[in-house]
């Protein structure tokens, strides 16, 4: 793969059409069974400036509309992806979405700078407890390490990688704890809209 996007090109392309807000892309194949992801999504989607986008509800058959999705990406400053960690990666449809929509010539490559300057934010729930995601835990690697592919995607596309939001042990949390996490999440998503975009791009 190529390394990085041309910095000059990236900076000049920011004068794109007026954009705003967060595209909150949720990917959960069985949302009805996920207390944590439902609580998080519910807390964040009511925020002003957040466009809620439920991928599995929109494309149950995986037939992603590439044009429509690219338009959505263009129209927002912050691209947020919310998902449960499956086999240390994103659910299949979210991966498909990256594969089909974040194309060469659009998101990366010599002519691909449509997303440059935007921010990529990942919110992720895990079944395992926090201490499992550690060199001495049974998962052996940290969350930062497991999310490297997304971080690198942001880098290649000239985007700012935001610190991920992680809820560990989602299944064993009680309602009170989930409520607290949801409030924390809501505040975090809100802060993405108010915080000025980091001008320092990966040069």
């Amino acid at each position: 793969m190529t390394d990085q996007a041309n910095p000059e090109e990236t900076t000049t392309s920011i004068a794109a059409p007026a954009t705003s807000g967060v595209l909150l892309t949720l990917a959960h194949p069985a949302l009805e069974r996920s207390r944590a992801n439902r609580a998080l999504a519910k807390a964040a989607k009511g925020l002003e400036g957040v466009t809620f986008h439920d991928l599995y509800e929109t494309y149950p058959d995986f037939a992603i509309d590439i044009e429509a999705e690219q338009e959505k990406l263009l129209a927002h400053d912050v691209i947020a992806v919310q998902f449960p960690l499956y086999w240390y990666a994103t659910p299949a449809l979210l991966k498909e979405w990256f594969d089909l929509v974040w194309l060469h010539g659009f998101a990366y490559g010599l002519d691909g700078n449509a997303l440059a300057g935007k921010r990529l934010f990942a919110a992720c729930t895990t079944g395992g407890a926090a201490k499992a995601y550690h060199a001495h835990g049974y998962n052996r690697f940290s969350m930062d390490e497991f999310l490297r592919p997304l971080e690198q995607t942001a880098y290649l596309c000239g985007m700012v990688w935001e610190t991920p939001f992680v809820v560990h042990g989602a299944a064993i949390k009680d309602d009170e704890e989930l409520k607290a996490e949801a409030l924390r999440y809501r505040a975090r998503v809100a802060s993405l809209m108010t915080a000025p975009a980091d001008a320092e791009l990966g040069a």
Binding site: T2, D61, A63, D65, I66, L100, L103, H104, G109, L110
Partner: protein, 637 residues
């Protein structure tokens, strides 16, 4: 009186009075009865003695039971065992005892009182089923409960014939064991032989129906003589009635049994349609004879006694039936419907009365009075049903918030009503059932229904566009109506009426084509699916695969096509109805759509524009970079 003139009187009376009665909302049964009273010996006296005609007309009841048997699968009968033996048995015993107790209070000796109780416990199969049919209640839980009771009453007649003579208090006038019930040839035999002959007769009916009727009918069918087929069908019914009568069983019961046996044969529908007209006419004749049999002189001489008898009989029967129905778990509304429908005396009462008089159990005067009371109570059944409906309506109006009881005996209410269960509805229905949703199916194809009943589905026979049927099926409490009818106009009609009656109901409909789909949406459907669209698309996708596409590429091509088609469907929806604008817009849209579709599909073709999993541009870029780096290394050397 010459036969032709008599036939003219009967037919004329029916033709005049029945349509009038229907127009007045009284139902056809009451129309026939009134016609009978008018032409009878006690009014215009246009017809004479009813005895022979009565016997002929009773054959209508036999045919009715045969036709009902044809609609009932043995498994359905088994499912109804609780309604038949539990509810039915309790009704016969309960009503007999209640009427006997009342009769004793009126001063009758206990033997006579018990006999009167048994005679009056019977209800009228013909009147009940005809009335329920007209109200659209026969296929519902009310109809099933009523039918179960009527069936058991037919069975109960057998032990009654044995029991009644033992209650004799007067010296028997006629020595005939099975009296008016038809000449039983086995009556003189010892009891065990009688039992054996009954078993043998049932065996003949079941075995014959199973193994003999089919080859015979096939042989007749090959002759292609329709009237002979009809004759053969009638022959079966008459034959079975005779066999049954010979061993002292009720001919109606035998005919029912024969119907059940033949319900599984492929000739059932022909049998049904061939015999159906006889049923209607003979039943009409039966009702007329009942009307003509009402002794107006007796009514006039003892009006108060008669009124008291009729009211007492109907109120008592109603109360017993209502109480038992509630006990067996029916909602109040359904219980009231069953009780009102069955509160009359039945045609068996006439037969049993003749028999008891002969056996010296009941005196002739009392019997004449009871005959009149039973006939009047039969005539009042449609009135009782109308009364029930009025009261139910008033209650509905008084407490609009309460969801009205539809009279459902099933404890589980359906989530979904599926109208039409053919090639389309079945697939939809199976998916929903497999996911644990309860559905009730309405279909007008009896064969289809049988098949489904065998799979344990709740199926109602009938035209789903009829509101009363939908209500009986439980639409008031269902969450969704799925219209999968095989008829373009009826689909629209049903969507429209259902939407008007139930604004909150979710309605999904099967559409023919685009125009039909728009039409349905405009009439209130929440979602539609064009019946051939998905199948055609799937076949197209398979075709692409057979033409050499890899499966996933073919699948994606289909998916893209679907998306574009659905989008154009939505885009054109606003101009639908304005013919010219629609044509213009659709021509326009077709071109744009084709362009977009081609562009989208092009992404799937390797080497074309950048697309999914298409790394052509990336490969090129990587190649250039590699060349640049190679050149750099060359320079550095």
């Amino acid at each position: 009186m010459p036969f032709l003139i008599q036939a003219m009187v009967y037919l004329g009376a029916a033709v005049i009075s029945v349509p009038i009665a229907k127009r007045l909302g009284l139902g056809s049964v009451l129309g026939y009865l009134i016609a009978g009273v008018v032409i009878g010996p006690f009014a215009l006296s246009l017809v004479g003695e009813q005895g022979d005609i009565m016997k002929f007309a009773e054959f209508g009841v036999v045919i009715l039971l045969f036709l009902i048997g044809l609609e009932v699968q043995p498994s359905t009968l088994w499912d109804m065992r609780k309604a038949i033996f539990g509810f039915g048995g309790a009704q016969v015993v309960g009503t007999s005892l209640a009427i006997a107790a009342a009769s004793m209070l009126l001063g009758l000796p206990w033997q006579t009182a018990l006999a009167v109780g048994m005679v009056l416990a019977m209800s009228s199969t013909a009147i009940v089923l005809q009335t329920l049919d007209e109200k659209g209640l026969r296929q519902g839980p009310v109809g099933r409960a009523a039918f179960g009771i009527l069936l058991l009453q037919d069975l109960a007649v057998i032990p009654m014939f044995a029991l009644l003579p033992t209650l004799a208090t007067i010296a028997p006038t006629v020595h005939e064991a099975a009296g008016g019930h038809g000449a039983s040839l086995v009556a003189h035999l010892p009891r065990w032989a009688q039992g054996l002959s009954v078993l043998a007769a049932v065996g003949v009916v079941v075995g014959g129906g199973r193994y003999l009727v089919r080859p015979i009918f096939r042989f007749i069918a090959e002759a292609r003589l329709r009237e002979i087929f009809t004759a053969a069908a009638l022959l079966i019914v008459v034959g079975v009635a005779n066999i049954m009568q010979t061993v002292g069983l009720s001919p109606a019961l035998g005919a029912f049994l024969a119907g059940v046996v033949l319900a599984e044969s492929e000739f059932r529908r022909e049998l049904e349609s061939d015999i159906e007209p006889f049923r209607g006419l003979l039943l009409g004749l039966f009702f007329i004879t009942v009307g003509a049999g009402i002794d107006l002189r007796l009514v006039a001489s003892q009006p108060l006694v008669l009124i008291g008898l009729v009211l007492g009989l109907m109120v008592l029967k109603f109360l017993v039936l209502f109480g038992l129905a509630r006990l067996f778990g029916a909602p109040a509304r359904g219980a009231a419907a069953v009780a009102a429908a069955l509160a009359q005396g039945g045609e068996f009462a006439f037969v049993l009365l003749t028999f008891t008089v002969g056996a010296g159990v009941i005196g002739a005067t009392l019997a004449a009075l009871l005959t009149a009371a039973v006939a009047v109570s039969m005539a009042l059944t449609p009135v009782a049903m109308i009364l029930y409906e009025r009261i139910a309506q008033m209650l509905d109006a008084a407490i609009p918030k309460v969801v009205p009881d539809t009279g459902a005996f099933d404890d589980s209410e359906p989530d979904i009503i599926i109208a039409g269960f053919g090639r389309f509805g079945q697939i939809t229905g199976r998916l929903l059932t497999a996911n644990g949703f309860r559905s009730t199916v309405l279909d007008s194809d009896i064969e289809q229904i049988d098949l489904l009943r065998r799979f344990g589905r709740r199926v109602h026979y009938g035209d789903a566009t009829r509101m009363d049927l939908l209500r009986a099926a439980g639409i008031e409490r269902a969450r969704m109506l799925i219209v999968a009818l095989d008829d373009r106009e009826k689909t629209v009609e049903l969507v429209e009426t259902a939407r008007k009656a139930f604004p909150d109901l979710v309605i999904l409909a099967r559409a023919w084509d685009r125009r039909h789909a728009y039409d349905l949406l405009a009439n209130g459907a929440d979602a539609v699916e064009r019946e051939t669209f998905e199948a055609a698309l799937a076949l197209g996708t398979t075709a692409l695969q057979k033409l050499g596409y890899r499966a996933h590429r073919a699948h994606r091509a289909g998916a893209i096509f679907r998306r574009h088609d659905r989008k154009s469907f939505e885009d054109l929806r606003p101009v639908w109805g304005q013919e010219e604008a629609y044509i213009l817009a659709s021509r326009d849209a077709a071109q744009t759509m084709d362009k977009l579709l081609n562009a989208d599909l092009a992404r799937l073709r390797p080497g074309d524009a950048a697309g999914a999993w298409d790394t052509a541009t990336l490969d090129e870029e990587l190649k250039e970079r590699a060349e640049r780096e190679a050149a750099k290394r060359e320079n550095a050397k």
